[in-house]
Amino acid sequence: MGGARTVLVLTDPYDTTADYVVEELNQRGHPVFRCNPGNFPARLSLAARLGGGWTGSLRLPERSVALDDIGCAYYRRPSAFELPDHLNDEERRWARREASRGLGGVLATLPRWLNHPADMAHAEYKPVQLALAEAVGLSVPPTLITNDPDEARSFVVEVGSAVYKPLAGGTIAEEGVHKLTYANRIAAADIDDSVRGTAHLFQAWAPKAYEVRLTVVDHQCFAVRIDGDSEAAHLDWRTDYPNLRYAVTDVPEPVRLAVFRLLDRLRLRFGALDFVVGPDGSWMFLEINPNGQWAWLQDATGLPIAAAIADALMKDEA
């Protein structure tokens, strides 16, 4: 061998954020093998033999890659496994688990990732990231996680102004549409016994001049100031993209160093972090998305995030 090692991109075919990185690698002439693990076993096949590690290949009808030729794996947004229609639900569940442990298990042995999915899965826990953010010196709003309505009511009264945020997010499909849950300001009077229904996260409302989405790739910072021109955007910018303004901004040194400590503690090479910047200029950590979106910010500001990710994927060692 001796040539450049292939970048493995694991994602859905319609993930256009991954397209930015693949095209960047294409332009550099760097080998890429993009596949959707969800295409296993229909289009994607695996043959791996143990002997000094796992050797073998991943194959699509149009290309293949040797496992030991993979340099770094880029985990984006794989879809669910496609299993044959003739299977019943139990057979499907069994086959899905076998596929996950077989294909997933072999891929888990790859030495270099951006980011390793296990690290992302750990970092997705908001209680984990909030506690670590506080531990590394970032300012974090007072936060309560509870299924006790009395505790929730007391917290809201105590902090004066509060928001409810989902812990996991994602969509809920009902009545023929998908719905998302955003941050919502709440009053003590809003809280009732339905809080007992599951875990809920309540957080003090952080006074806001504007927000910052900070994308970090191997300790390289890309900070974008986000100003919301509507009430909805001011509350949660995700609810009103058409009414946002973007500008490249700087990160205060203490915040930058604390962010690096947070990423290191979470074993993440990539992270998309959200901050509120108060009227006094203070930065308040809201969350880190270990697999967050970034391409629309590159479009809006020209920040070379795809190039930074391509650089990270091409590095010889993590």
Binding site: T16, P78, V177, H178, L180, S194, W296
Partner: protein
């Protein structure tokens, strides 16, 4: 004499708190159909009262976008990459048979 082999049904269920699949969580749903008959229950958890249809989803018509297996990116009918058409994390994907689905920045998250 025979000994019954008891297989507890829980053996097939993931751990409720720490699912081993999270070690390499392949197979997260990305494009999945909306169940038309799912209706809100009367006593749903507090947080679900704030679930709303995203106000500004960017629609991508999959009948006019295809995956170029050679270039390994999405392209339009002329073969031009479709960068930037749905990258802000709340894509509504309109497939050719009319099903809708969505991705979120917090899907892991979207995120």
């Amino acid at each position: 004499m025979t000994t019954d082999l008891l297989i507890p049904t829980r053996a097939n269920e993931p751990d409720p708190l720490f699912d081993p699949a999270a070690v390499l969580p392949l197979g997260r749903p990305f494009l999945h159909d909306v169940s038309p008959d799912s209706t809100p229950s009367r006593n749903r958890p507090f947080g679900l009262r704030y679930a709303v249809v995203p106000p500004h989803p960017i629609t991508v018509d999959l009948s006019r976008v295809r995956y170029d297996a050679e270039r390994q990116v999405c392209v339009d009918p002329s073969g031009t990459p479709v960068f930037g058409r749905h990258t802000d994390g709340q894509t509504s994907t309109q497939t050719s048979d009319g099903h809708k689905s969505m991705d979120s920045d917090t899907d892991h998250r979207e995120d």
